[in-house]
């Protein structure tokens, strides 16, 4: 490893890398500690943010970065430590007080009221009993123009895209004269193009003297947009650097505490055994599949799709372009209006999920906390779901408690699930460990067709690596894998073929060396977004 990791021990003064002159900092968090019960979420953390910087705070899930940011915008109060804004000590007792000190938070998921207009949403946060809309709208327009965030104040928020809602949240921060804007994983909900648009805005803000704090765990973003970067691990600040003077590898190593393979450099031509794959019978055959959502709106239109044994077919699409409906139809959670689905040659269009599972279907669901795990149930109960009714885990009526316990303990060990025991509530596990529970349950034995939807979303680097390896292992063992991911790099790294969906139809099919992020991004936008590409 060529880059010096510059790991700093958590000494209060161990922040050599970003030492600046007094008065240079817009925000200083000094010696912050915060505990939840027995857990130290923040342990003597000192974070100094230069004025006009775009400062990235990175770390795995559970590293304490969200807690630290919540302290910075007044949502939590620290157990110990001081906060200075522009070298003035402040006592941030609530988000409103923090906003008064010039600190605003832009949440990952919009907290706006859909049925209200942009201006009404912004004025919701004011103290005024009867807000005056005329001047406010003019001011919103003016701020929008100054910072290049064009949003019409009279539009209803419900009509805006996810990126549009995020712009409104940022606009709201600027409306209240926030000088320090904190963004919590802002790109998680955006397409690559939208993300680049956001980064352009952030650079504009920084040039105009605003200070940006951005939480993320995507390293390319850190490199692309930040000027400074701080890494947290296990509640401590372990590393900080000017972005220009560090590397992705160094940051990743600081995050995980060991070196990791950032990309799975696969040799596309050699190891794939492409000839074998194309000649084998498809495990999954989808023909003319049309699916409607709950309100009878067509979400997927006449889609054909094959997945063969030993290949990974990626589905690339911006959220809401039919990929969720495709997954639901294939896994039996939603009945298609037209078309057929075959698994291993047998028509399963009308079968329930259990019948499909018995034919070898496995499903890693997108909404982990709703469908992937039962957070209120134990690790054991989560691990057996889907095979809980068959020998050896159950007899005709009763569960076999000892076998269940042994089976669950075995899976925990094999998939390195970190939990005190098999009876730990899954809701108490970190996101990565929750997903390992899902992976362990779904990939253990008998998987012929794996539908993996966003398998690494919100999962830390270490767990991401092991999940991807697990998928590749299953592929090598001859499973057919349908991989739906909004993480383009994941599709590029893992998929043998890619099907791009745009507003419910197949917008393109790529295979082998054609699979490149830029191409995918264009197709995902319906191929009509060249202008947007240009301004990014």
């Amino acid at each position: 490893m060529s880059a010096d990791p510059m790991l700093v021990t958590p000494a209060p003064s161990g922040t050599q890398a970003l030492q600046g002159t007094p008065g240079e900092y817009a925000l200083r968090l000094e010696g912050i500690s915060k505990s939840f019960g027995e857990i130290r979420a923040n342990d003597d953390v000192t974070l100094r943010v230069r004025r006009g910087a775009i400062h990235g705070v990175v770390g795995e899930n559970g590293a304490g970065k969200t807690t630290l940011m919540r302290i910075a915008y007044g949502f939590y109060r620290a157990d110990a430590g001081r906060i200075h804004v522009d070298d003035t000590p402040v006592d941030l007792t609530s988000p409103r007080v923090a906003l008064g000190s010039g600190i605003a938070m832009v949440h990952q998921h919009s907290l706006l009221v859909d049925s209200l207009t942009v201006a009404e949403n912004i004025l919701l946060a004011t103290d005024q009993a009867i807000p005056s809309f005329g001047p406010a709208q003019a001011r919103i327009r003016e701020i929008g123009e100054r910072f290049g965030l064009a949003v019409e104040p009279t539009r209803r928020v419900g009509q805006l895209s996810v990126a549009g809602k995020q712009r409104v949240e940022i606009l709201k921060a600027l409306y209240f004269d926030a000088r320090i804007v904190i963004l919590d994983e802002p790109t998680a909900v955006l397409t690559p193009q939208e993300a680049r648009g956001l980064f352009a805005h952030l650079r504009t803000f920084a040039q105009q003297g605003k200070t940006i704090l951005i939480i993320t765990h995507k390293l390319p973003e850190v490199m692309a947009v930040t000027t400074d970067v701080s890494v947290m691990r296990a509640g401590r600040l372990v590393y900080e650097a000017r972005t220009a003077e560090t590397s992705e590898e160094a940051i990743a190593q600081a995050m995980v505490g060991r070196s990791v393979a950032l990309r799975m450099h696969r040799d596309r031509t050699a190891a794939d055994g492409a000839a074998n794959v194309s000649s084998s019978e498809p495990v999954l055959e989808v023909r003319g599949l049309t699916v409607c959502d709950d309100r009878a709106v067509v979400r997927l239109r006449s889609v054909d799709l094959d997945v063969r044994a030993g290949e990974i077919v990626g589905i690339a699409a911006v959220e809401g372009n039919g990929q969720s409906e495709l997954v639901e139809a294939v896994t039996g959670l939603r009945r298609p209006t037209e078309g057929t689905i075959r698994i291993l040659g047998q028509d399963v269009t009308g079968s329930d999920p259990r019948r499909r599972r018995e034919r070898g279907l496995r499903h890693i669901p997108e909404d982990r906390l709703q469908s992937g795990v039962n957070p209120t149930a134990s690790v054991r109960e989560n691990l057996i779901c889907g095979r809980h009714y068959r020998p050896p885990l159950a007899g005709r009526w009763r569960m076999r408690t000892e076998q269940v316990q042994r089976y669950a303990a075995g899976l925990m060990e094999r998939f390195a699930i970190l939990a005190p025991g098999t009876s730990t509530r899954v809701g108490n596990l970190s996101g990565g460990n929750m997903q390992k529970v899902v992976i362990a349950r779904e990939l253990e034995e008998g998987a012929r067709l794996i539908v993996a939807a966003q398998p690494t979303q919100g999962v830390d680097i270490g767990a991401t690596e092991s999940i991807r390896n697990e998928l590749l292992r299953m592929r090598a063992e001859g499973a057919a894998i349908l991989l739906v991911s909004s993480e383009l790099s994941e599709i590029v790294d893992l998929a043998d073929r890619v099907v791009v969906l745009f507003s419910g139809s197949v917008a393109g099919r790529l295979s082998g060396r054609e699979i490149q992020e830029e191409k995918l991004g264009l197709l995902m936008m319906g191929g009509a977004s060249r202008s947007e590409m240009a301004d990014a």
């Binding site: 857990i39 559970g62 959670l333 999920p353 669901p365 906390l369 809980h388 316990q405 730990t424």
Partner: protein
């Protein structure tokens, strides 16, 4: 495995803590009320205690009041564990009671060994059928079962009123309480403690509780019901059909409610009387809420609520404090218990759920954690 052995004890401790604190707070609030009307709370509490447990007669009264509550609370809890909110326990109990009374007075000359089970089965069947309709509407049409079960209560009351007043009217009755003819002695539930009304319905109720607990805990169907109840989408993705289980738990729930009705007919009234239940179903819901729908807690909570109710009468007689104080007390306790169940994360006893997480939970569960946003 030591982990497996120590857990139940810790669970019991955690399970008892919440209701105990709620009950304590409820009594404190009631004491304030008593002080406000210028009476002595200690004296009131003493009178309440004597009214519930002071004499064998009072103890029997408490147990007799508790018995139908065990049935109706278990009915509610079983449905709730399977994600169904059965607000129609009362109606199912009434229909079950009527049907069991019908079997009780229609068959003559059967041996008790046949007649009794037949009467109880009729009660269970009536309740189950009355619960089946809302369950089907929910699964088939998406009709909210809280609304439909609640409405079915009124239909049950009106229907049985009609049946008692017209087709099954006994000549020569007048006044507000009207009854069918009496059931045959062969359908009488034998008393365990003559001459009091503590019948074999009490052990039957406890047997139902233990069975429900065991099935939920150890049976495949119990596992599936619990998964459907706590995470329906998770269950569905794992190949467990939620609809079938929703209908199933509603029918079991209705059957338990109907058994409660049959127990009242066979053990207390010896006929169907109108009005019949007057809140037995709803008080059962309170009992179930008090113990967080945990079957094994229900008999205790039912005896507690039964004691309050029978004690209230004694208290009113000896201290001239209105028996409705107990209604206020019960309501207050339920409010404190609900505060714990529905989002009272900051209350002291709710931290139990948070202990021993391997990672800082504040971040680990961020996406689901609405409070952070």
């Amino acid at each position: 495995m030591p982990e497996a052995r120590s857990l139940p004890l810790r669970n019991i401790g955690a399970a008892i803590r919440g209701p105990s604190i709620a009950i304590l707070l409820g009594f404190l609030a009631a004491a304030v009320l008593v002080l406000l009307i210028g009476k002595d709370p200690i004296e009131a509490a003493g009178a309440l205690w004597r009214g519930a447990f002071g004499t064998p007669n009072n103890i029997a009264g408490t147990l007799a009041l508790a018995t139908p509550l065990i049935f109706s609370a278990l009915a509610f809890a079983v449905a709730f564990r399977g994600s169904m909110f059965n607000a129609g326990v009362e109606g199912q109990l009434i229909i079950g009671a009527f049907l069991s009374a019908f079997v009780g007075f229609s068959f003559d000359g059967l041996p008790a060994l046949v007649h009794l089970p037949l009467m109880l089965a009729a009660g269970a069947l009536g309740g189950a059928l009355w619960a089946l309709l809302p369950a089907i509407w929910r699964v088939g049409l998406g009709a909210n079962e809280i609304v439909t079960t609640l409405m079915m209560n009124f239909i049950a009351i009106a229907l049985t009123d009609y049946l008692v007043l017209y087709p099954f009217r006994l000549p020569g009755q007048s006044g507000s309480a009207i009854r069918t003819e009496s059931i045959n002695p062969s359908a009488d539930l034998p008393s365990l403690w003559p001459p009091y009304n503590v019948t074999i319905a009490l052990p039957l109720a406890i047997l139902c509780v233990i069975t429900a607990w065991y099935v939920l805990r150890r049976f495949v169907v119990g596992y599936e019901v619990r998964m459907v109840g706590s995470a329906p989408r998770f269950a569905k993705a794992g190949g467990i059909p939620p609809g079938r289980h929703m209908v199933g738990v509603m029918m079991v729930s209705g059957a338990l409610a109907g058994l409660g009705g049959a127990a009242q007919v066979g053990g207390v009234f010896n006929a169907f009387v109108s009005p019949f239940a007057t809140g037995l179903g709803f008080n059962g819901v309170l009992v179930a809420l008090l113990v967080g729908n945990a079957p094994l807690g229900i008999p205790f909570a039912a005896v507690f609520i039964g004691a309050l109710q029978s004690g209230a009468i004694g208290m009113e007689l000896t201290t001239s404090i209105s028996r409705y104080l107990v209604a206020a007390l019960t309501a207050t306790i339920i409010i404190f218990v609900s505060a714990r169940q529905f989002g009272g994360r900051r209350l002291p006893w709710s931290t139990v759920a948070r202990v021993r997480s391997p990672q800082p939970r504040a971040e680990a569960t961020d996406p689901a954690d609405g409070t952070g946003s």
